[in-house]
């Protein structure tokens, strides 16, 4: 039966995440926006709390750590599971601060990759560790099949060589999941991911980026210089299977795209809510019964932004819900990511304009949210990549036909 409200059983989780956002994240939001590259030590205690919740059978973490496709749906009934729970708590946390969420210990994208493709032994060995993800290279961003970092088997170890950039939480994490190719001639099928200890001497931190937004989150660049990795730290199968291609590594993204969409939804909601308050102070309030054209232009604009926000939020929940119910959600995950990514930027930027100097000034957080929002339309697949994924599925075209 159709019902698109937050499930009753997740209401305590949402409340809890919101409390954390209000009590822990918002108070230090500006501090770490200004103090880029400084470690937010306030988060250590919070991370321990979140771990405790997870161990206690709490349905989800605050980040990308716990999501994977539901294994089965035995009774055939409707399921509200960890994907939806994660999306909902991420919305709340990012209403607090998206940069801080991205640097939440043990909730990295690498954790998600491990959860999605690691075998039992690997899961056990890497449990409880904070894992970052290293895909992008200076010459390969969205086109991740074009990566040049190589992995060569030498005895019981792979030797990795190359350069990785834009590694979120790369400095702070304990593990880095590195994408490398076993054979550059083969293409996608030869790309494998390797779990590299952050302390590995072959993994050299080159620099930390200075960014437009999400400054609380460190973004690292690494040089892999004869970096030796035990061969059992390769995730998934070491075979080069040209038929399966990208399957394993890309599967991670079907689960994480809705979560990045959730981040955009959280930031957008922060902007919208505060703009609504400031507009009310200025004497403008939205009346939902009166047609937009018969209201103040600012109220009409807020209504428009709110409608895009709501579409983005529900698309995000839908994609997560599909994952929980073992419905293939690659298409819907991209719907969510594309809509939330662009709506988040549009909403945050237009809220700045609606609030004037309060929107632009650093006294308020509106300008920060507008800067933070932009990354969410870029990482985990840019807007354009999402549109490609959607269009290829919609039109039944291959990547050779629709380039």
């Amino acid at each position: 039966m159709i019902n698109l409200e937050v499930p009753k059983k997740f209401e305590p989780l949402v409340d809890q995440a919101h409390t954390v956002a209000v009590e822990v994240l918002r108070p230090i939001s500006r501090k770490y926006d200004l103090a880029e590259h400084e470690y937010p030590k306030e988060l250590d205690m919070l991370a321990a709390l979140i771990d405790g919740l997870d161990d206690g059978g709490g349905s989800s973490g605050a980040g990308a750590g716990g999501v994977s496709q539901a294994q089965s749906n035995g009774d055939g009934g409707n399921r509200n599971g960890s994907n939806l729970a994660s999306a909902l708590s991420i919305i709340e946390m990012c209403w607090g601060d998206v940069g801080l969420l991205l640097t939440m210990p043990r909730q990295g994208l690498g954790n998600s990759a491990i959860a999605a493709v690691a075998d039992d032994d690997q899961k056990q060995r890497f449990a409880g560790k904070w894992a970052a993800m290293a895909i992008t290279e200076p010459e390969a961003g969205s086109d991740s099949a074009a990566i040049r970092t190589t992995a060569v088997l030498d005895g019981d170890e792979y030797v990795l060589n190359g350069e990785k950039i834009y590694v979120t939480a790369g400095e702070r994490a304990e593990l880095v999941v590195v994408w490398a190719t076993l054979d550059r001639e083969v293409g996608r099928a030869a790309i494998k991911s390797f779990v590299v200890e952050r302390s590995n001497p072959g993994l050299k931190l080159d620099r930390l980026e200075h960014k437009l937004g999400i400054r609380a989150s460190d973004t690292a660049a690494f040089i892999l210089d004869d970096c030796r990795v035990p061969k059992e730290d390769l995730l998934g199968s070491p075979e080069i299977d040209t038929k399966k291609g990208f399957g394993g590594v890309m599967r991670t993204f079907d689960n994480t795209r809705p979560l990045v969409a959730a981040m955009a939804v959280g930031v957008a909601r922060a902007s919208l809510e505060h703009t609504r308050e400031l507009l009310a102070e200025a004497g403008v309030e939205v009346d939902y019964d009166t047609p937009a054209n018969a209201q103040h232009a600012a109220a009409a604009e807020l209504l428009e932004l709110e409608s895009d926000f709501e579409a983005a939020r529900l698309l995000t929940m839908e994609a997560a819900w599909m994952a929980d119910n073992s419905k293939p959600n690659s298409l819907h995950a991209s719907y969510a990511k594309a809509k939330a990514g662009r709506a988040g930027v549009d909403i945050a930027l237009r809220c700045v304009a609606l609030c004037g100097s309060a929107g632009l000034g650093e006294e308020e957080l509106l300008e920060k949210w507008a800067r933070d929002a932009k990354i969410l339309d870029i990482f985990e697949g840019t807007q354009q990549i999402q549109l490609l994924i959607i269009a290829r599925q919609l039109l039944g075209l291959t990547s050779a036909e629709l380039k």
Binding site: M1, E304, E401
Partner: protein, 463 residues
């Protein structure tokens, strides 16, 4: 055959005044040129009429125009009378939410969706072009839609209705399925359902037993919920149509716009400002003296035979007022109407998307299908994303309505999104077909017109 309003009533502003007002600084030479062009234009127009042998047609149009000024509404309308008496109003029970997030319709909803969808795609789609041109829905199709039970969705079982529960979601799904076939014909088919749903939801025992049984039989009356009024910046909460108290009854005066099946409707529910109270709904039979109608063909939704309804000192009894004039009921009516228009936009937008997919894959330019180009493919992706967003916001509003929770915000948001994105999808669809999108050989230009209309009209439909 084409449909027209009144040719005589088409007003052309007097040209010299117009020129003087709009271009006061025009040079003499420019003015001379303009006058000459205007003269030439006028001459050419007359010439064209004769050359094309259209003189007779033009004269007939003038005749038709004169005839189609305001005239009495359907005077042959049936007389409504209570067959059985109800002790108290019958209400369909609301469905209970499980409290879980779920996007799967119930089995009953899926069955209805399938049956109505099949009818829409096979019958309505086929009849759409002709009905659009004639401004009229074929009566056999309207009969078939009644057989599907569309007009009795909101009729309680005690009065012959077939649906156990009251469900705005079910109505939205059915509206969407019908509009996927054709929005104009869907409008015509759904117009009586708005009236029966209104009386089912808010009618008293007497009103229900008088009117509702008629909507469950073979011969469902044409009926319309008339809220919209002429003029820019129309606000359904600031109606110009008035209801004055007169003894036990009321006297209604005013003008209603874009009323579906206005000419043959036998029953109206009309929104009017009740003096000293606020906007309220009144049941008005078409045979009541002072109820006049005139065709009002519009850009879109032409198959529904839209018209104006003029109320000239229309006297109705105390039993005409729905829901005791409760302001909350009127608000609910407007909100449910907005959800219905969202469902219309979703159906047509989905129809457009499904039509576009094979088109862009077949159509070749520069040696390959245009679908292989990002400019085209990304536009297709955008349409798919927005249709899904429209659907989710609309379902959420409808589901909240079913749960008896406040849905003013959700209805407004869904309407905003569906009006804006629906219009964009209509425009994109024509654009993707290029010249083919602009000609009537393809259905796309009709969707462009209908999708604009769906974002404008208030009332006339309910979920």
């Amino acid at each position: 055959m084409m449909c027209h309003r009144s040719v005589l009533q088409t007003r052309t502003p007097a040209a010299p005044e117009h020129t003087a007002r709009r271009a006061p600084r025009m040079t003499l030479a420019q003015q001379g040129t303009q006058v000459a062009l205007r003269g030439l234009n006028r001459l050419a127009r007359l010439d064209l009429i004769d050359r094309a042998g259209l003189r007779g047609v033009a004269e007939r149009l003038v005749y038709r125009g004169t005839r189609s000024g305001f005239r009495a509404a359907n005077a042959a309308g049936r007389s409504f009378a209570a067959v059985q008496k109800l002790g108290k109003p019958a209400r369909q029970p609301r469905s209970k939410s499980t409290g879980s997030f779920d996007i799967t319709p119930t089995d009953e909803q899926l069955m209805m969706q399938e049956a109505v969808g099949d009818f829409a795609m096979k019958q309505l789609r086929k009849a759409a072009t002709d009905a659009d041109a004639k401004c009229e829905a074929p009566s056999d199709l309207l009969g078939q839609s009644a057989e599907l039970g569309i007009a009795m969705l909101g009729v309680p079982e005690e009065l012959g209705g077939a649906f156990e529960e009251r469900s705005a979601v079910t109505s939205a799904l059915i509206t969407e399925a019908l509009a996927e076939g054709d929005m104009g014909l869907a409008f015509a088919a759904l117009a009586p359902a708005a009236v029966s749903t209104a009386i089912g939801l808010w009618g008293g025992a007497e009103q229900q037993s008088t009117y509702l049984p008629e909507f469950t039989g073979d011969n469902v009356p044409a009926a319309a919920l008339a809220i919209h009024e002429p003029g820019a910046l129309f606000d359904p909460f600031r109606l110009r149509t008035t209801a004055r108290r007169d003894g036990d009854g009321f006297v209604l005066d005013g003008l209603k716009a874009l009323v579906p099946r206005a000419a043959d409707a036998e029953l109206f529910v009309i929104g009017a400002e009740l003096e000293g109270s606020g906007p309220a709904l009144f049941i008005v039979e078409s045979t009541t003296p002072g109820v006049l109608t005139q065709a009002e063909p519009a850009m879109g939704l032409r198959a529904a035979g839209t018209g104006e309804i003029k109320l000239e000192a229309v006297e109705v009894g105390s039993g005409a007022l729905l829901g005791d004039g409760d302001a909350e009921i009127y608000r609910e009516c407007i909100r449910l109407g907005r959800i219905a228009w969202c469902a219309m936009a979703i159906g047509t937008a989905q129809g457009a998307l499904d039509f576009l997919i094979p088109y862009v894959k077949d159509r070749k330019a520069f040696g390959e299908p245009i679908a292989h180009r990002q400019a085209v493919a990304f536009n297709m992706a955008d349409i798919a994303i927005e249709v899904e967003g429209m659907r989710l916001t609309t379902y959420r509003a409808a589901s909240l309505a079913d749960q008896g929770r406040d849905f003013a915000r959700e209805a407004a948001i869904a309407r905003q999104l569906c009006a804006r994105k629906g219009m964009q999808i209509g425009s994109d669809a024509v654009q993707l077909l290029g010249g083919h999108g602009y000609v009537k050989e393809y259905p796309v230009e009709r969707w462009y017109r209908d999708l604009r209309a769906a974002g404008v009209i208030e009332g006339a439909l309910l979920v």
